[in-house]
């Protein structure tokens, strides 16, 4: 897709460029960037800001032996590159996610029976596959497969939620999201996605750690499914 219509916010792209985005959210952004030149250009601009800020930083003197230590390390053998994926990744899976799966399950993950990867029943018509151990910031990233016409349980979340549609489409109260699109949901924005079309909707969903609780009621309505 080269004409995705729903993008991460510029604030999110800036945080991505700064390296300030929790890694699950960063993975979703990466998957979107594969098919979105406009957002890649914005990230590149964010990186130019990083470069400008780095270059104008007040230098902090290094230890006296820093240069000699550095030069002595240049001949260290390079670690082997991470193993490449085995080419069996499904066609719908963007390269950043395939690499993440590779890192999590080993290079032959795609050749294994799909079931053994740990797709789990979540609700009628909905299966999920965790694609990341809990992130440094406490967030998560998971794949959801939603059968056509299935409505996800109404849910709410304490932190930012990013969803990238990898295959198929879904709609919620706000819009229709198709392959490559990103739905960015503010904290505490309830929504109820419904899969469109006649084959399952595959989405990559990441949350940052919920940092704010909206009192007892908010906590009690934290969904059972862990969003």
């Amino acid at each position: 897709m080269t004409d995705t219509r729903h993008h991460p916010s510029e604030a999110t792209l800036m945080a991505f460029a700064a390296g300030a985005l929790d890694e699950g959210l960063a993975l979703v952004v990466s998957c979107h960037l594969v098919s979105c030149p406009a957002c890649r250009a914005l990230v590149a601009e964010g990186e130019m800001i990083g470069g400008a800020l780095l270059d104008s930083s007040q230098p902090a003197p290094l230890a006296d032996d820093a240069l000699s230590r550095m030069m002595a390390r240049l001949d260290e053998p390079e670690p082997p590159p991470p193993p490449a994926t085995d080419g069996n990744a499904p066609a719908w899976m963007p390269a950043p996610l395939a690499r993440q799966m590779n890192a999590l399950h080993g290079p032959s993950w795609a050749a294994q029976a799909r079931r053994s990867l740990g797709w789990r029943w979540l609700a009628p018509g909905v299966r999920q596959l965790s694609v990341m151990r809990r992130t440094r910031g406490g967030g998560t990233a998971r794949l959801l497969s939603i059968a056509p016409g299935t409505t996800l349980p109404h849910h709410d979340h304490g932190g930012l939620e990013l969803t990238c549609v990898l295959d198929g489409a879904f709609h919620d109260e706000r819009a229709l999201y198709q392959t490559g699109d990103v739905a960015e949901l503010e904290p505490d924005t309830p929504h109820q996605p419904v899969a469109e079309g006649n084959h399952p909707c595959l989405c990559l969903i990441a949350n940052e750690q919920p940092t704010r609780f909206s009192g007892l009621v908010g906590r009690l309505t934290q969904p059972l499914i862990g969003f």
């Binding site: 470069g51 270059d55 290094l62 550095m70 890192a103």
Partner: protein, 214 residues
């Protein structure tokens, strides 16, 4: 291209030095890059909360990646400081993840070998000289209104996502996002680019902050 430097490197062409490292494994060129960028990287890392010793270690790790990856540096695509920033950002996150898990890091979402955005984006401008672009970005950053400069600095130097920035400044999330959006718009204008006609921008319903800041 940058302000005078204690090492007397004012006017050095960092991109040319990086190319020399990439093409000829030029150690003298690398040493000059290290002398210039090492202390700046250390400063950047310490502003991100690293202790001096940790910052020194990450500088070494990041500059080792610079040495190893310099052959991938393309001066047509990025300015030296920008490229170094991305290398250091990725290396730092990679090391943090290793520490957190006690094992090798998983793949890094940032490290993507994505196609050059400029190649595919139908921007009206021809590709500006990277050094000139970087200079324009610097100038645009220097003239940002304080409340916009603040959110940019918090993003890059405190590793804060916008939710955390909102909490930190005690302003609504929408205000943070809109300040970042305005900052990027201003920087883009500094580069002579028009705003992309993206739906998300058109649909943006967040209120702009009042001119004096919220």
């Amino acid at each position: 291209m940058s302000q005078p430097d204690p090492a007397g490197d004012a006017g050095s062409d960092w991109s040319a030095l990086l190319v020399a490292v990439g093409q000829r494994r030029d150690r003298a060129a690398f040493a000059r890059l290290f002398a210039h960028f090492g202390p700046r990287l250390k400063s950047y890392l310490m502003r991100l909360g690293a202790q001096p010793n940790q910052a020194e270690d990450v500088v070494q790790e990041a500059m080792l990646m610079v040495w190893r990856k310099a052959h991938l540096f393309d001066p047509q695509r990025a300015e030296a400081a920008t490229w170094l920033f991305t290398i250091a950002r990725n290396r730092r996150i990679d090391l943090l993840r290793r520490d957190g898990r006690g094992g090798p890091a998983a793949s890094l979402p940032w490290e993507d070998n994505l196609p050059d955005p400029v190649d595919e984006t139908p921007l009206p401008d021809e590709r500006l000289d990277q050094t000139r672009q970087a200079e324009q970005v610097r100038r645009a950053i220097a003239t940002l209104p304080p409340e916009q400069a603040q959110v940019v600095h918090l993003s890059f130097f405190q590793e804060m996502a916008h939710g955390a920035i909102a909490d930190h400044l005690d302003v609504p999330l929408g205000t943070v996002k809109s300040r970042l959006r305005l900052a990027m718009k201003r920087i883009r204008q500094g580069l002579g680019k028009d705003t992309f006609g993206k739906d998300t921008l058109a649909e943006e319903t967040l209120p702009d902050p009042p001119p004096t800041g919220a």
